[in-house]
Amino acid sequence: MKVCLFEDEKFDLLYPLTLTRASFELRCGSMTLVERIRRFNPGIEASFFLRDYLEPVLRERLGNAVVNSLEDLGRDDVILVNGRWLPEHGRLPIEGDETVATCRGDVVYVRAKRETVRRSLSDSLQKTIENLRSELSVEEVEARMVEYPWHLVQYNHELLKEDFEAYWSKREGVKAMGEMVSVVGDKSLLHVSRGAAIHPFVVLDTSSGPIMVDDGARIYPFSRIEGPCYIGRDTWIVRGNIREETSIGPVCRVGGEVEASIIQGYSNKYHTGFLGHAYVGEWVNIGALTTNSDLKNDYSTVDVYVKGRLMDTGDLKVGSFIGDHSKFGIGCLLNTGTVVGAACVMLGGEVLPKYIPSFCWYADGRLRRGAGFRRTVEAERRVMSRRSVVMSESYVKMLEKIYQDTKEERETLIRKAELRLQQGGL
């Protein structure tokens, strides 16, 4: 049996987070779906289907992965897994009869034998799944499907606890903390990898859930970590107040107050300032005192821009969604439910607009075209090299595709914003 992770047509509801990665590469809990399936099902062969422009970058990230190969699909019995699904405890329903499982219209997974897949093969995965859907029995199941970015934040709490139970609690970690480290709550809910360092005057509070500290992570003095929480590989917490339901991916530098948020990885939020109910991509830098709101003053539900329209999340607590490579200067203020695209630059001092298109700058109350593609790539190359990561040509091509694809939206919104300014509006 092979597992095949696929993106369905709803990937763009998860923008800006899925501009630069597939839905199954998003972090929720202590890992991404790809990592979860590989770790929880060792030895299982996995293949992937995603948008063409992301294919070379995924190959680089995953090594010799089989990507977008319909030919490969018919070689074995398979379970096709929707990349937006968060299976309970990471368990895949590998055993059982052939079936198509759906949840409110979305295909969650398809379990099929090789012969059935071969009969259903078409010229695209989507058509192949449609063929399987008409051939096999369809069953409606309850499933945690991530449809919008805020769902990742909402599910993070459950996933952190499940990951601890299924994976981290079974791993050998540091047995005893240093004398000046305080553990509040159940010590068995703490996993500190052997290569991690917890400095004196750190409080680890497991009263509300487990804390997982991955290899190479460093928690510096005067930090407080509340579970459930995951601190990623080689990430530093510098005088951080890391509140519950937070996942911080690898190689981040995080200080200040962070609550119920997810940071994909390789991002910095070194200084004082609040980040709550947010999802931050990779290579983001958040300047000192930059703060996001995650609760409106009238305690009403938060609206977020999705595909150009404001959408009611139905949730009272929603922070910001920030695309890869975006940078915030000191003192930026982000309104509740703000969306910032990829590779944006924001200068602070005022409340930012609720939506900033990719590769835009916001400064002096104006939405701007910014430094253009070439200079942005040059700058980001420098950013990545500081963490010993080389920006590959495939990666540059991916960014260029995003730059071109978002150009029309960028120009339209800049024009509209200029018009509003000329008319004296906000």
């Binding site: 910014g370 430094a371 070439r374 200029e418």
Partner: protein, 82 residues
């Protein structure tokens, strides 16, 4: 549209002034209050509009609207497109 008209229109739009108000000796810094962020953005806009590569150290030598027009014309000529 001539190169001069196109350059002036980009500058006018960027600083939100009328094209007519821009003279050859209009200073980007003294008259239009250009800051470093404006320079970066204008260079990127000219690069895209004229399909040119403009080194920052060259661009920074242009202090007036007229100098920018002449500079762009020269770069286009260099590229064999003027």
């Amino acid at each position: 549209m001539s190169v001069e008209e196109k350059v002036k229109r980009i500058i006018a739009e960027h600083f939100r002034v009328s094209v007519e108000s821009l003279k050859d000796d209009t200073s980007l810094v003294d008259d239009l209050m250009a800051e470093s962020i404006d320079t970066v953005e204008l260079i990127a806009t000219f690069e895209e509009a004229f399909n040119l590569e403009i080194p920052e150290e060259e661009a920074e030598r242009n202090q007036t609207v007229g100098q920018v027009v002449e500079y762009i014309k020269a770069k286009l000529a260099q590229a064999g497109r003027c």
